[in-house]
């Protein structure tokens, strides 16, 4: 299924690419520029031709990029995950290093190495032009898909969750719709790949619409305490609630029956 999806998207991309005859020359220039950038910024770990580098122990130092497609590069570089500052269990999201043009060039180069999904068009994830009613239905459907497929790792509000051995499913709120779409499509790091056969494009759009709705909706219930569930609630109950009430108990017990300090002193 997974491979089928990848092949399908890759195949579609290949089929569509020659149609853009006018841009083929620009495309070639872009790939060339991308290769130059790649040799400087990426080849050290991923190999001079994106073939990947193994450690002496035989594990991956930098995985092969021959069939990851432009979408993977656009996601990893566009969210600052690549290039990594240091090898580790997880590439954290950080400040973006490359400009949009450079990212496009890198994507084009890596896409030229083999198959793989292309960068999705905006119409795949944008709700622009849809009626309010349609968007509402999309959000409802997206919420159910989100709860079934995403919350197990990313938490019920997309606040993130722990993964084994220091890894984590990152917070996915406030992330570009395009990047969420690409993440589902390419399955970065420990994430599963949700191919179009698994979650069709319109369902991916629904999930994105639900996440955007979460971002836009007011917090009906007050401060959300990080939206982490009962742990942060317990901390507030103890530190805030019990802390405050014990403070009040101390305050009440510290006051005698006298209504003013003067009388109290006179009595003493």
């Amino acid at each position: 299924m997974l491979v089928c999806g990848l092949l399908l998207t890759g195949g579609l991309y290949a089929a569509l690419a020659p149609a853009q005859a006018d841009t083929s020359q620009d495309e070639a220039a872009l790939v060339k520029e991308g290769r130059e950038l790649f040799l400087v910024g990426c080849a050290f770990c991923h190999g001079q031709n994106g073939e990947g580098v193994l450690t002496q122990g035989g594990s991956q130092y930098g995985p092969a990029l021959t069939d990851v497609g432009a979408a993977a590069v656009d996601f990893q570089v566009g969210t600052g995950r690549m290039p990594m500052a240091q090898p580790g269990s997880q590439a954290p999201r950080k400040e973006v290093v490359y400009t949009d043009e450079e990212t496009a060039a890198l994507s084009a180069y890596v896409a030229s190495l083999g198959t793989g999904p292309a960068i999705p068009d905006a119409e795949l994830y944008s709700t622009e032009g849809m009626s309010e009613k349609e968007i509402e239905e999309l959000v409802v459907r997206g919420g159910q898909i989100f709860l079934a497929n995403c919350t197990a790792c990313h938490n019920f509000e997309g606040s993130g969750g722990a993964m084994p051995r220091g890894g984590y499913a990152p917070k996915i709120r406030g992330v570009d719709s395009k990047h969420i779409y690409e993440a589902m499509l390419t399955g970065p790091q420990s994430m599963d790949t949700f191919s179009d056969g698994n979650i069709p494009p319109e369902d991916k759009k629904a999930v994105i619409a639900y996440l955007n709705e979460l971002d836009e909706a007011p917090s009906y219930s007050g401060f959300t305490l990080g939206s982490l569930g009962p742990v942060s609630e317990g901390i507030i109950a103890w530190v805030g609630g019990i802390g405050l009430l014990v403070g009040f108990a101390v305050w009440i017990a510290a006051h005698t029956t006298r209504s003013s300090k003067k009388k109290d002193e006179a009595a003493a």
Binding site: V139, G161, G241, A253
Partner: protein, 571 residues
């Protein structure tokens, strides 16, 4: 012999004497008194004295938060529909409109979005419940650490432990009622725990759920328990707890004028009623503010329960956190025998540890009085430092509890502190065993150091902060004797009893089991009291006083001599 009859009534009047003044209020009170006998009933209790100390009000937080939870709970029952009938939601919350869900979940959403003030009530109910159990726990710590559980209050201690247990079960059933994803995950976990009981597990599960999980009976059943059975038991036990409190009278801290036979404090009316009544409003207000400001269990975010779904950060409410933590850190131990699987990894943390901890808790007063042989009544409290082993036992238990509790949040700790969840788990596996031992040793020695400090204050006075340079050029701080009241308070405690020795037991001619038990007890008592500092004897205090007077004279003459021995400054 003449008798003065001027003050004796000359007739038997036909009209009863009536209270003067007050008019309307007095008339109503009189009317009620004549019919209900309130005056006689209240005469004794209206001036009942309660001692004043902040730590005596912790139980009150529990009482008042329970009242808040009852009030808000009644409000919620008016709209909550405890049914697992599947319906299609068409309420005000857009992102779930049209989704199939149980009536219970739909009515939780309605309470949150369509009932005026409903969300505030839900949040107050939940915050109130969290504070109810938390305050029971800190109240229990206070009672234990001050020795207030000793005779005659052991039974009230047990009632308190049962209240804590019932509060926890009440909390769990309430957590399960909204039938959102988090609730359902909790119920599923409970189902798994039951099924982990050898042999009878699956029968118990089928019995509770009325068939295979989840069925359609669990929510109504939990509802009956949550709003009827457990609150009824809680109310009855709270009443018993408070009646015993009144009967035993409140404990008090030692001090001048305070004995085992009296209670020094303020009367119920007007002082204590005002303080306690005021505290009710403070507790109510605090919970209302929390309910208004802080989100708790935002059920609409979790979606309806569906056994195929789960969310990261699925945790029980805090009071169930410690068994959950043990469950998270225990290695995956299982035994397969005669076609039966014994899941030690579930049985030990969930089916063995919580009942065991409760038993230990309930047994603490009896274990201590057996070891110390102390069967006397106690109404004066002990400072935690004056019972170092007792204090250390509780701190060790607290450490075990706290570490298990933290392990229950291992995933949140991992993502927030950038740690590996595996490393936290490995650390906790060792820490739950080693931590309490370290805590025990540190606490015990800390208490003994504080006892020594008290002894130092009694025998050598308090530190004045006055530094005196001797003719040789050395510096020393002058100490002055404690005020008499403080010295009395520090010495108003019993000496620890001297445990029997093995020789004494042998000499007494005891044999067999009795002798063995007595020897065990003697050994335990020796350990229990080892290294404790006893209060100074009267002679020691007398000598100290004498010495202090001498010091004071010396200090005064030194001050009079001035810093450079030029005599008193003349101005």
């Amino acid at each position: 012999m003449s008798v003065d009859v001027s003050k004796v009534a000359t007739t038997n009047g036909t009209t009863p004497a009536t209270a003067k003044g007050g008019k309307a209020a007095g008339a109503i009170a009189n009317w009620a008194d004549e019919r209900l006998g309130l005056g006689t009933a209240m005469k004794k209790n209206i001036r009942k004295v309660f001692p004043d100390h902040w730590s005596f009000m912790l139980g009150e937080i529990a009482l008042w938060s329970f009242v808040v939870v009852l009030l808000t709970g009644v409000f919620l029952t008016l709209w909550f529909d405890p049914s697992m009938t599947e319906i299609q939601y068409d309420g005000a919350y857009d992102p779930l409109r049209g989704v199939h869900m149980s009536s219970a979940y739909a009515s939780s959403l309605d309470i949150s979005f369509d009932v005026r003030g409903g969300l505030l009530m839900r949040q107050m109910h939940h915050w109130g419940a969290m504070i109810f159990i938390a305050s029971m726990m800190i109240h229990m710590l206070r009672v234990y650490l001050t020795g207030a559980f000793r005779k005659p209050r052991e039974l009230n201690w047990i009632i308190g432990c049962l209240l804590l247990l019932l509060g926890t079960i009440e909390g769990f059933t309430g957590y399960s009622l909204p039938d959102d994803l988090l609730s359902g995950t909790g119920v599923r976990a409970a189902d798994g725990f039951m099924k982990a009981s050898p042999v009878v597990g699956s029968y118990m599960s089928f019995f509770l759920f009325g068939g295979e999980f989840p069925g359609d009976a669990i929510i109504p059943r939990f509802y009956a328990m949550h709003i009827l059975l457990i609150p009824g038991l809680l109310l009855a036990l709270v009443a018993a707890h408070m009646l015993l409190l009144v009967y035993h009278k409140h404990t008090q801290w030692p001090g001048p004028g305070r004995t085992e036979q009296n209670v020094v404090g303020y009367p119920m009316l007007p002082v204590y009623a005002a303080k306690a009544g005021g505290f009710f409003f403070i507790v109510f207000g605090t919970i209302a503010v929390m309910g208004g400001l802080f989100s708790i269990n935002a059920v609409w975010k979790y979606g309806p329960y569906d056994p195929s779904k789960v969310t990261a950060g699925s945790q029980p409410d805090w009071y169930m956190g410690w068994p959950d933590g043990l469950l998270r850190i225990i290695p995956a131990w299982e035994t397969h025998i005669w076609g039966i699987t014994l899941s030690w990894n579930v049985m030990i943390p969930i089916l063995v540890m919580p009942p065991l901890m409760l038993m230990i808790l309930m047994a603490l007063p009896f274990i201590e009085s057996w070891i110390t042989g102390d069967k006397r009544e106690h109404h004066l409290l002990q400072r935690p430092r004056n019972a170092p082993t007792r204090t250390a036992i509780m701190v060790a238990l607290m450490t075990f509890y706290g570490l298990s509790w933290a392990a229950g949040g291992n995933d949140i700790i991992a993502i927030k502190l950038h740690l590996s969840i595996n490393q936290i788990t490995y650390f906790m596996r060792g820490a739950v065993f080693i931590g309490p031992v370290i805590a025990f040793i540190i606490t015990r020695r800390w208490c003994i150091s504080l006892q020594r400090h008290d002894e130092g204050k009694l025998l050598h006075g308090y530190e004045t902060g006055v530094l005196v340079r001797s003719p040789e050029g050395g510096y020393a701080e002058k100490h002055l004797p404690l005020p008499q009241g403080q010295a009395y308070t520090l010495t108003a405690r019993d000496d620890d009893p001297t445990p029997e020795t093995v020789e004494e037991i042998d000499a007494s001619g005891a044999t067999g089991r009795t002798a063995r038990l007595r020897k065990l007890r003697a050994k335990l008592a020796t350990v229990f009291f080892a290294d404790n500092v006893q209060k100074p004897t009267a002679e020691e205090l007398h000598d100290a006083q004498h010495h202090a007077e001498h010091e004071l004279h010396e200090l005064e003459s030194q001050i009079a001599a001035g810093p450079n021995r030029h005599g008193p400054a003349d101005h």
